[in-house]
Structures are given as structure tokens and as C-alpha cells.
């Protein structure tokens, strides 16, 4: 292992903490990143010559702070605010030789949490939050983010620059929100993390090589958040959901890249370590009184599948009940459609069909191919082939996914060949 590789690895581990600590001091995340970057450059220059310091992490942090002090001095800032900043920086910019292995403790953790909250600040558009979070917390370059989202690198770079400027101009406080604000701000953080996870997990876009990295990055962020906010049940719920979903990653596609639906997955390929971690996180969410949170509920549904040794042994009555609660917490016709599927599995196709029929006039599902697809499936299981065929045909015209269309057309044909009930 070369010394440069070692420096870069240390940098990846320490980067977000350094940016966080500096943001609190210089009140500007863009500047903080610049100083942090200067510390990296200094390490790349000095360590190969002078040797690796005893505590590389602390060295990087101290050096970044000193760069900030030097810069403020050079600029000969005269306002009192800046003088105050400067003295603050000088006080904790020159620490006594840090203990080997010292982490800086709670203060660094608080800064990291603040950094997460500003990267996911509602003042930014969702896509800007995602890009900034990956940049600041994940340390991904604009090129890597661009590759993951199939967007031009310049677009991502601009998005990040603009996001930093927006935060700076709005003088967004570098704090962990409290009070009434807290719940919605945290919801924004969790949403961003789950968006990143899903971008990696779903097969919609992006470079195949980058996508597992996105999911891993989101999981890592979720796990960090779970340590920073150990008392928050929805954080645990989100981590549970991501761990359980990630546990199925290897079983979700064939070796040729075709998707495999949940009932058809080879459960032997599920990752038991991640599943176990997910179930443990779900237990923590429950223990914290968060069983009815939207992420915890989705995790509980995923856990029902995860616990079933085979698809036939799935606890569908419980899944149906969980969807009913989820539908109350976050009313949505898609959740209701999922409940219909679970009810059909638990009580038979007729019970499911009653729920689906009630959704027929739902405007938010107009054009949603899974509505006729599910209805067709239930009708077919009831032996109502003509009606089922019409639904599958409709679903096939609505889907934009070629593989799905082929699957639906096969079902159209199957309806024609089944024996008619009297």
C-alpha cells in the first residue's frame, strides 16, 4: 500500500468530520470544503517526506483549521464578527498534541449531525439535497454523482455550487433543529437518504457499477444517523427498511440481469447478516415506540417477507394489517393497492378485488399500470378470464418497461387458453 493510498483512505474516512467542524467555525460550507481540501493537499505534500503523523486524523483536522485561520488573517478581515471568528479559530485551531486514537468526541459528532441537516435543508430542491449530501457526507466527486444519476458532470457540479451558495446567502443556521421544526427537518434528511438508497436499488437509471455504491452509501449514512440519533425511532425504522431491502439485492436479479420478483426469489441468496441487522433495527424502532412510523411500518412489512422461510409461508394477514395502518399514517392509493394484494393473499382474490374495485375511480392511479395488472391477476384467479384479459391488455399499453410488457402480454395469452368456468 502506497502512502498516497493511505492518505486518500484516511481522507475518505475523515473528510465529512473535518468539513463539519470547519463549517461550524467559518459558517460557510463551501469555504469549509476548501480548507479541508487544503489539508489534504498539505498531507499529500508532507507525509511522503516527513512521515505519517502519529494521529493522521487529528493532523488533518488541525491543519484544516490552521489554513482557515491563515486565510482569515491574510484577508485582514476587520469586522468584529470576523475577529471573533478568528479568535475562536485560534483557540481551538491549536490544540495540544491530541491523543492517539482520540476522536474529538461529542463535538465532532454534533457537527456531523448539523452538516447532515444543512445538506438536506428544505431551502434546497430535492435533487440539490441529494447531490450535496453525497458530496459532503459521502465524499463522492461530482463525476461519481453524475455517473450514478446519468447526468452530465457539469450539471452536478453546478448543482452543488448553487446549493452551497443558496445555503450561504440564506445564512442557514448550522444547527440541529429543535422544537416544531425538528420533525419536518428530520423527515427531509430521511427522505434524502432513502432516495439515495432507492436510486441505487431500483433499476431505473444510472451506471450499473455506481448503483450498488449508492445503496451502500445510503446505508452507511443511515447507520451513522442511527448512532447520532439513537433515540429516534424513525431513523431506526429507515435503517431497518434499508438493511432488509439490501439483504435481497443478490436475489433480485438473475445472472443475466433480469429482475426476479419477491415470490420467485431464491431465499438462499438473501444476505442473512443484513436481514438480521434489519430485524434488530426494527426491534429498536418498536422499543422506542415507533412501530407506527411510516419507515418502521414499511420495514415491518419487509420483515414479514424476510422472516418467511418460503413465499408460501408468508404471513399475509399481518402484511395486510400493516398496510392498513400504513394507509392511515400516510394515505396513498398505492398503499391501498398493495393492501389489496396482501388481502387477496390472506383471504382470497374476491376480498382483494373488492378493494381494487374501490380504487378504480381514483384519479391518482389513472395511467398506473399496476392497477389493471393487479386487477387482471385477481380476475384470472377468480376464473373471470375475459375481464382479466382486458385488464392485462390495458396494463400492457400503460407500462413503459419492455420486460414488463412482455410479461403482461404473456398473461393476456394465458387468459385465452384457460378453461372457462360455467
Amino acid at each position: 500500500m502506497t502512502i498516497v493510498a493511505s492518505i486518500e483512505a484516511t481522507w475518505r474516512i475523515e473528510r465529512s468530520k473535518i468539513v463539519a467542524a470547519l463549517t461550524r467555525r467559518v459558517r460557510d460550507v463551501g469555504l469549509a470544503e476548501e480548507f479541508a481540501q487544503e489539508a489534504l493537499v498539505a498531507a499529500l505534500e508532507q507525509w511522503p517526506v516527513e512521515g505519517v503523523p502519529r494521529n493522521p486524523a487529528a493532523w488533518l483536522m488541525t491543519t484544516a483549521k490552521r489554513r482557515a485561520v491563515d486565510t482569515f488573517r491574510r484577508r485582514a478581515v476587520e469586522t468584529r464578527v470576523h475577529e471573533q471568528l478568528l479568535s475562536e479559530l485560534e483557540i481551538d485551531g491549536e490544540p495540544a498534541a491530541p491523543e492517539v486514537g482520540s476522536s474529538g468526541g461529542d463535538e465532532i459528532e454534533d457537527d456531523l449531525l448539523r452538516l447532515i441537516f444543512i445538506a438536506c435543508h428544505p431551502i434546497l430542491a430535492t435533487e440539490a439535497r441529494v447531490a450535496l449530501t453525497l458530496r459532503l457526507l459521502g465524499g463522492l466527486s461530482a463525476a461519481e454523482i453524475a455517473r450514478a444519476f446519468l447526468v452530465a458532470e457539469a450539471t452536478i457540479a453546478q448543482r452543488i455550487v448553487r446549493a452551497k451558495r443558496t445555503l450561504s446567502e440564506a445564512r442557514v443556521a448550522f444547527e440541529v433543529p429543535q422544537g416544531a421544526d425538528r420533525a419536518s427537518r428530520l423527515a427531509s434528511v430521511l427522505e434524502v437518504v432513502y432516495l439515495i438508497f432507492n436510486e441505487g436499488y431500483s433499476a431505473t437509471s444510472g451506471d450499473d457499477w455506481m448503483r450498488p455504491q449508492l445503496s451502500e452509501e445510503a446505508l452507511r449514512l443511515g447507520r451513522i444517523l442511527a448512532c447520532l440519533l439513537p433515540q429516534d425511532p424513525e431513523v431506526q425504522g429507515l435503517v431497518a427498511l434499508m438493511e432488509i431491502q439490501a439483504s435481497r439485492a443478490a436475489a433480485r436479479v438473475t445472472s443475466t440481469g433480469e429482475p426476479v420478483l419477491l415470490p420467485d426469489q431464491n431465499r438462499a441468496r438473501w444476505d442473512r447478516l443484513l436481514l438480521r441487522r434489519g430485524l434488530a433495527a426494527l426491534e429498536r424502532a418498536d422499543a422506542l415506540g415507533g412501530a407506527a412510523g411510516p419507515y418502521a411500518l414499511q420495514a415491518a412489512i419487509a420483515a414479514c417477507h424476510g422472516r418467511a422461510p418460503s413465499a408460501a409461508e408468508t404471513d399475509w394477514p399481518r402484511i395486510a394489517a400493516l398496510y392498513a395502518v400504513l394507509g392511515q399514517v400516510t394515505p396513498s392509493p398505492v398503499v391501498e393497492l398493495n393492501r389489496a394484494v396482501a388481502v387477496a393473499m390472506a383471504l382470497g382474490p374476491a376480498a382483494g378485488l373488492a378493494i381494487v374495485d374501490a380504487l378504480q375511480s381514483e384519479p391518482r392511479l389513472a395511467g398506473y399500470h399496476l392497477l389493471p395488472s393487479v386487477r387482471g391477476d385477481l380476475l384470472a384467479r377468480l376464473g373471470r378470464d375475459d375481464e382479466a384479459r382486458a385488464e392485462f391488455e390495458r396494463a400492457a399499453t400503460l407500462t413503459r418497461n419492455a420486460r414488463e410488457r412482455a410479461f403482461l402480454m404473456a398473461r393476456v395469452l394465458a387468459c385465452g387458453h384457460l378453461p372457462r368456468p360455467e
Binding site: 500500500m1 493510498a5 493511505s6 486518500e8 483512505a9 484516511t10 475518505r12 474516512i13 486514537g101 476522536s103 459528532e109 455504491q213 451502500e216 446505508l219 452507511r220 449514512l221 443511515g222 447507520r223 451513522i224 448512532c227 447520532l228 443478490a250 445472472s255 431464491n266 431465499r267 438462499a268 441468496r269 438473501w270 442473512r272 447478516l273 443484513l274 436481514l275 438480521r276 441487522r277 422472516r307 422461510p309
Partner: protein, 138 residues
């Protein structure tokens, strides 16, 4: 990618049954474990009782033969492991370097084989193996 950090304490190969690390070493190690967890990289960890409490099953000649520990021929034995998820081998090394290990301890890092690393026929064969692991865990 996942790595196992394998802790190899010299002398552990001959440690008597019930040997435990001292409290100060455990305290330092707990702090390290916490660092790993806070960084979001720790997936699992365990410490292992000494080989004098274990047994070795060898298969020479195609028949299993059981030998109770300690194992006179063993030069290095495991004392425990961490399973971490990191972005590179270099990062795994960096984490291993931060371990508050003592002068007689060695950490070996080894990348965990993932399904994607295997050719198709091995994937099929490995699926059955994973099922055994799953049976244990469920």
C-alpha cells in the same frame, strides 16, 4: 465491499481454557468498536474463546478425525474478528491501523467474497451453501 479483520493474538494458541482479555484492553477495544460503528462501517464482530476450549476436525484420508485443543502444531490462531463494509481495501487497512492492538497482536484483513465475484456455476453451487448459513441464522 466487505472485509473481515481477523485478530491474531500471539500466544493465544497456548492460552488456557477460560482465558479472558484484561479490562483495560477491553475498554480500549470497546472505544474502537464504537468508532467503527459511528462511522457506519461495522457490520458484525465477535471474540473467540481460546483454542484450548475448541477442537479441530481434520479430514485426512477422507474421514473426519477430531482433535481437542490446544493444537500443538498451530502457530497462529484467531482471537476474534470484525466484519466491516468499506469503499476500498485501503480503507479497510486504514481502519485496521487504528485498532488499539497490543504488541503481540496481528490483524489480517481479508475481502469477503460476494456473489458477484463468482462465475455462474459457482453462484448456483454457492446458493446452496448460503442456505446452510441462513438456516443457522433464522
Amino acid at each position: 465491499m466487505r472485509f473481515m479483520m481477523l485478530m491474531i493474538p500471539k500466544g493465544y494458541e497456548s492460552a488456557s481454557p477460560g482465558t479472558m482479555p484484561d479490562a483495560a484492553a477491553v475498554a480500549a477495544m470497546m472505544k474502537y468498536n464504537e468508532e467503527l460503528q459511528k462511522a457506519g462501517v461495522l457490520l458484525a464482530l465477535d471474540g473467540l474463546h481460546p483454542p484450548s476450549m475448541g477442537a479441530r476436525i481434520s479430514f485426512e484420508g477422507g474421514r473426519p478425525k477430531v482433535t481437542d485443543g490446544p493444537f500443538a502444531e498451530a502457530k497462529e490462531v484467531l482471537g476474534g474478528y470484525w466484519m466491516i463494509q468499506v469503499r476500498s481495501r485501503d480503507e479497510a487497512i486504514e481502519w485496521a491501523k487504528r485498532c488499539p492492538a497490543s504488541g503481540n497482536e496481528v490483524i489480517e484483513i481479508r475481502q469477503v467474497q460476494e456473489m458477484a465475484d463468482f462465475p455462474d456455476d459457482v453462484k448456483e453451487a454457492a446458493a446452496g451453501f448460503e442456505k446452510l448459513q441462513g438456516g443457522k441464522a433464522a
